[in-house]
């Protein structure tokens, strides 16, 4: 869980939950594997077909703004993405991602290029860009968030502790 590796898919600033899980597929929300076939479709039409397990979504500012739909981080995870890296995240998306066990990493993504091979160590807060031959560090998540993520999401956390134990 704490060591991730894959290829970078680069997106712009302001990727909203409407880009990630468009409203025209609202009727697929109870069929997540089908909905996942449309993940990020309005930002990049072929993403769901091309993405490989372990790959990273790399974006700019305010990733995941908009609706509270948890289906957005859920289908990113279902598509096999190992983590989302962005300069900043919208609040609800960030919390949803942690709750469902999708790592979200805040760092300056400006120098990461499309297709770069990345390795991420979540606990040490380190990213290695093997293609660009550089290393970046990031602030690990807050203790509360790490505890939830470490347990595999909020549901697993509560099942394990019988309570919210932060």
């Amino acid at each position: 869980m704490s060591q991730l590796s894959g290829k970078a898919w680069v997106f712009s600033d302001d990727i909203s939950t409407d880009h990630i899980a468009p409203g025209r597929y609202f009727h697929l929300r109870s069929n997540l594997p089908e909905l996942a076939k449309h993940v990020l479709e309005d930002a990049r039409e072929d993403f769901a077909e091309q993405v490989k397990p372990g790959d990273f979504v790399v974006a700019g500012e305010n990733f995941g703004l908009g609706s509270s739909r948890e289906h957005a981080p859920t289908i990113i995870k279902l598509a096999g993405v190992s983590a989302v890296l962005a300069k900043s995240f919208a609040r609800i998306f960030f919390r949803n991602a942690v709750n469902i066990g999708l790592p979200v990493i805040m760092l300056d993504t400006s120098d990461i290029q499309e297709g770069d091979q990345l390795e991420v160590d979540l606990e040490k807060g380190r990213l290695r860009d093997l293609t660009g031959a550089k290393e970046l560090s990031f602030q690990p998540l807050s203790n509360e968030m790490m505890r939830i993520l470490g347990d595999g999401g909020l549901v697993e956390h509560i099942k394990k502790h019988g309570e919210i134990k932060l």
């Binding site: 409407d18 468009p22 309005d42 305010n62 509270s68 948890e70 900043s88 609800i92 919390r95 549901v155």
Partner: protein, 418 residues
């Protein structure tokens, strides 16, 4: 624990935590109302089941609102409704049926009170901040936990104080203020923070405050709070509910201070594809429109419909413009009927939609054609939102929307108000 003066956000979260808490702390707090809508409810129920807990902690304070697919356009969504009805029957939770209205409007009409802690599986849950409740939007898992345990965890946010002075000039409304504010501070300008409004608040009636609080999340905020004052108590009293005055302590500390003179606000429009991409309506008169939508949790209340009808009365919409009007709740619908507003809309060339979220979320009704332009009174204009990534969404007040429907292009409503 220090006894330094508290913001309204700190005050409410402390009360629900049972101890004084300050910005930056993490608290596990008792929730007074937990709700979801038909887009987030089914997943919330599956997460409650995944927790292995039987039912919900406070059935009377747990509600599933059917508003996004109201009425349902597809069998999959009808089955989601059945799934939520069955869960509610089993657990004693409440269902707010198709046709009753939009969750945030109904929370204001029937449930929210000053000092409450409300979580909703919908980002615009912050609407109830207008009544002095700490109300915030969360995802399905968070709302599932709040429903199952009756409490959940919060990071107490820092607050921005937004000081308002003066009053709106003719043709200018709360929507123009909040669009202007978001354009000013940006779509991430208040991420993780609470916006706390203060100053000359008698200039904003309850409906105006609901519009402002509704859009706090469009600046990234966790909550948009008004103190509970005479206006709040009158509104609650008029609806047979109670409540006490509630505000921040004098000298509470705020991360930032913003000031707006309402006299200086002008009719404002958000251009595609972000809410903070604002301009003055008067500078967009070359933008032709195909559709106008008046309604939603932002601007589907009776005052909104009155403002629009006042402009449309006795006039016809421009050729080639489709006008859709959706009252935010059944109660608003009936009021509009009683006041003769529905007739005005229909005679001007418009059509009335059932109470619900309608075209705003792209689920059904009023989907845009490729390349088409809509002027809508909702809160979001993201690419693809109204059912088509090739559509262009502009946001404005109901008055601007009505004036624009008459002209067939974006129009400053002051041009048609004598």
């Amino acid at each position: 624990m220090s006894d330094r003066p508290q913001t309204l956000a700190e005050k409410i979260l402390s009360a629900k935590y049972g101890r004084r808490a300050q910005a930056g702390e993490t608290v596990v707090a008792e929730v007074d109302l937990a709700f979801a809508q038909d887009g987030t409810g089914p997943l919330a129920i599956r997460q409650i089941d995944a927790l292995g807990l039987e039912g919900v902690a406070k059935p009377e304070a747990t509600i599933f609102f059917f508003d996004h697919a109201s009425p349902s356009p597809r069998k999959e969504l009808s089955d989601d409704h059945r799934f939520m009805r069955a869960f509610s029957e089993k657990t004693g939770a409440n269902v707010s049926e198709v046709g009753r209205g939009i969750c945030h409007q109904l929370v204001a009409e029937h449930y929210a009170e000053p000092g409450m802690l409300i979580v909703g599986g919908d980002s615009h849950t912050c609407t109830a901040g207008a009544l002095g409740a700490f109300a915030t939007g969360v995802g399905s898992t968070d709302v599932a936990v709040a429903m199952a345990l009756g409490r959940t965890w919060f990071r107490v946010p820092e607050s921005f104080r937004v000081e308002l002075t003066g009053s709106f000039s003719k043709g200018v409304y709360a929507k123009d203020l909040i669009l202007h504010l978001i354009g000013d501070i940006g779509a991430a300008g208040a991420t993780y923070k609470a916006l706390e409004f203060s100053g000359q608040l008698e200039s904003l009636d309850m409906e105006s405050r609901l519009t402002v609080s509704n859009m706090a999340v469009e600046a990234g905020a966790k909550a948009g709070l008004f103190p509970a004052d005479e206006i709040t108590l009158d509104y609650l009293k008029g609806r047979g509910r109670g409540g006490k005055k509630l505000g921040p302590d004098p000298n509470a500390s705020y991360e930032k201070q913003l000031e707006y003179d309402l006299e200086k606000i002008q009719p404002t429009v958000s251009k595609p594809h972000t809410v903070d991409n604002t301009a003055l309506a008067q500078d967009l008169s070359d933008v032709k429109i195909d559709q106008v939508f008046i309604g939603t949790c932002t601007n589907g209340r009776i005052g909104d419909l009155q403002a629009a009808a006042g402009i449309l009365n006795g006039r016809k919409t421009a050729a080639g413009v489709r006008l859709l009007v959706g009252p935010a709740s059944r109660e608003v619908y009936l009021q509009a009927e009683k006041l003769g507003l529905l007739r005005i809309f229909v005679e001007s060339g418009g059509m009335i939609l059932p109470p619900g979220c309608g075209p705003c979320v792209g689920v059904h009704q009023g989907a845009l054609g490729s390349g088409e332009v809509v002027l809508a009174t909702q809160n979001r204009n993201f690419k693809g939102r109204m059912g088509n990534p090739e559509g262009f969404i502009y946001l404005a007040s109901p008055a601007t929307a009505a004036a624009s429907a008459l002209a067939g292009k974006i129009t400053d409503p002051r041009e048609v108000l004598s």
